[in-house]
Symmetry: C2
Subunit: 104 residues, 2 copies
DNA sequence: TTGACATATCGAGAAAAGTCGATATACTAT
DNA sequence: ATAGTATATCGACTTTTCTCGATATGTCAA
């Protein structure tokens, strides 16, 4: 985990918002999971389009952001059909918190 | 406290190093406090020149970095004579940790 | 008051990040 | 096959950050 890159990812209001919205996906994305069938379980995942709508940036920007946040370990994703669902990578975030507590 | 700016400050290897070095100033800056007289107490403070030497960036860069880190609440400083001593702002860092724990 | 030193500020060029529209890819339904 | 939808990638332009050398400011010692 490259912590410099994680901090860079957190250095942007939209990305920070996304991370926080995803703490309570049902609250911030009411129609969350509309397309996902019951047999696929990816609890808390929200699709790119819903995040874009709320974040109010272009589709390409939000896609880029989500990919970036996934690469640094803040989010994880699953593709189902034409949708990609993103949710918090709680293990990565736990690791970051641990680093924070011991090294910062 | 503007957390975006704090994360920006942490998004740089040199600055992150400085913050970590200052956790154990005696270890990383052996001659620490050489100029500071006993009657002035600023425990753990290290002067700009010593930090520059270790960080291996230009004097103007390190001065800029330290000022930046102070502005966002990661460091605090005191001027004594021609020297400026910097140390961690433990209260600011505590606040950041609190934000981290509750919001991230 | 002059000269030496520590630090801060200024100005600038280079590198990186932000952000978009256009386009490509992948999937779905007809 | 075709058209429609969701997401990803590309290319480009703009804005921000990095980093430096030069210079200014403040302090101390002679």
């Amino acid at each position: 985990m490259d912590y410099i890159d994680v901090f860079k990812a957190l250095s942007n209001e939209t990305r920070l918002n996304i991370l926080q919205w995803l703490k309570e996906p049902e609250k911030h994305f009411p129609k969350q999971g509309a397309h996902i069938p019951k047999e696929v379980s990816f609890k808390g995942g929200v699709c790119v389009g819903d995040i874009q709508e709320k974040a109010k940036v272009s589709q390409s920007t939000v896609s880029h952001y989500l990919n970036l946040m996934q690469k640094v370990g803040l989010l994880e994703s699953v593709r189902y059909g034409q949708w990609t669902y993103y949710r918090r990578d709680e293990e990565g975030i736990r690791q970051l918190a641990e680093y924070f507590r011991t090294e910062i």
